[in-house]
Symmetry: C2
Subunit: 252 residues, 2 copies
């Protein structure tokens, strides 16, 4: 099964567009091992989510042990739930090939995130993995995203040009867009450019203050809504995941 | 000693602006272990280089073993030679903090490369490490770099705006620019914007076909000239390193 089929199956089964981000943080987890923490979160949310997202930064910081923790966490996730390995990797062609291989072969993730600053050369090696999906950073959720991403050329902001490129790249292999929930008008425009077939990965809900109703309305069904800190550090992660899943569903 | 002092000392000692890139590739190394290969290259070039650059992609592809290989290679490099860990990492603020910590604390590199697509939020956590240096991708060496990096806004290509930002970011902490040797006119313009105090990391010489004379002339003394494949896979890596170091010096 390819990424899109796996995702679509899980969206239906769990009636959910919610993706839980396993952004572990030593400072916030004191009463158990980080692996046990992840296992607990996975046990409590696996029937609520459509996917898990793992941001590599939170694992790399622990060095070799972090790498093992990443592998063990991925192993623990039920095989029918798609894993998005959020690495935002990027490099020139022959090097991007190595990153694509690391993520899609060595770690066997279902999807990843890629930074587009180097242009097509840096994206295409990822798209060779036809059964996987590469989400290209388009309009990110952070405040300073606008410094580059909103630069206007011929009256059009850069993120719109990236959305157009994503539409082209998607002809080569499965390509998605990363769009922050914190910028609903940009999301609306990007969805118009992409059409409905291209998945959007949408972080920025929760701690970052993104607008949920507009995100669901403008992003549409093919949108994976990420919450990390807001769920995993909640008093009751399962209750919080259920609440958010159901709130998303109210707007679908 | 901070990165700049360490670099400047080694530039003088070895009379060199040459940085060797340890881009190991299993397909090209068959007669010894990858670690032995790196050790051999380091032994043969340590009195010729001003720095080593290690691109993380070539190590990540081997998973946990690759991480160990990266650590052992870094350990083997003499402590007075700066190590640039080329990861092109990037993320929003709290996550970029983890990447900066991974590179500058967990792995204790002297410098790194960072992608600017997310704007200042994603750069500032790296600049907190005052003794280290963060080279921001400005105008990369690959063919499709122009797709984004040459986009014109108010008559100015994006890479010029990035160079201006690097000049600002350098007020917070040591900031450099990555500029490809394959685009000498862009290099000239970027050096004009940056002034002479900000280091430039310049890949693209050798296999990629960059112009050495113009690179040295336009980049000036504060330029680290990278060659990876052209040296490490040469019949005689030491001879090739000496040749390139001396050729660079002819133009200084």
């Amino acid at each position: 099964m390819n990424f899109k089929e796996k995702l679509s199956k899980k969206v239906k089964e769990n009636n959910s567009l919610l993706c839980v981000g396993l952004d572990i943080d030593e400072d916030k987890i004191s009463n158990m091992s980080l692996l046990d923490f992840n296992k607990k979160i996975i046990d409590e949310t696996k029937d609520i989510v459509c996917a898990y997202k793992i941001n590599m930064a939170f694992y790399e910081v622990f060095g070799k042990e972090g790498y093992e923790l990443l592998e063990k966490t991925m192993d623990y996730i039920p095989k029918d739930i798609p894993i998005i390995l959020d690495g935002k990797r990027n490099d020139i062609g022959n090097t991007a090939e190595k990153y694509a291989k690391s993520i899609f072969e060595t770690l066997n993730a279902d999807a990843t995130t890629v930074n587009p600053y180097l242009g097509s050369d840096g994206i295409k090696p990822f798209l060779k993995y036809k059964d996987k999906c590469s989400f290209i950073l388009c309009r990110t959720s952070n405040t300073s995203a606008k410094e580059l991403q909103n630069i206007k050329s011929n009256g059009k902001p850069l993120y719109e040009s990236i959305a157009e490129k994503i539409k082209d790249w998607n002809k080569i292999g499965c390509c998605g867009a990363v769009v922050g929930a914190t910028y609903p008008e940009e999301l609306k425009k990007i969805r118009e450019i992409l059409g409905n077939d291209i998945p959007i990965l949408l972080p920025g809900i929760g701690k970052q203050g993104g607008d949920l109703e507009k995100s669901v309305k403008y992003g549409g069904e093919n949108t994976i809504i990420v919450s990390a800190r807001g769920i995993i550090y909640a008093k009751n992660p399962r209750e919080e995941a259920v609440r958010l899943r159901d709130e998303i569903n109210k707007f679908r």
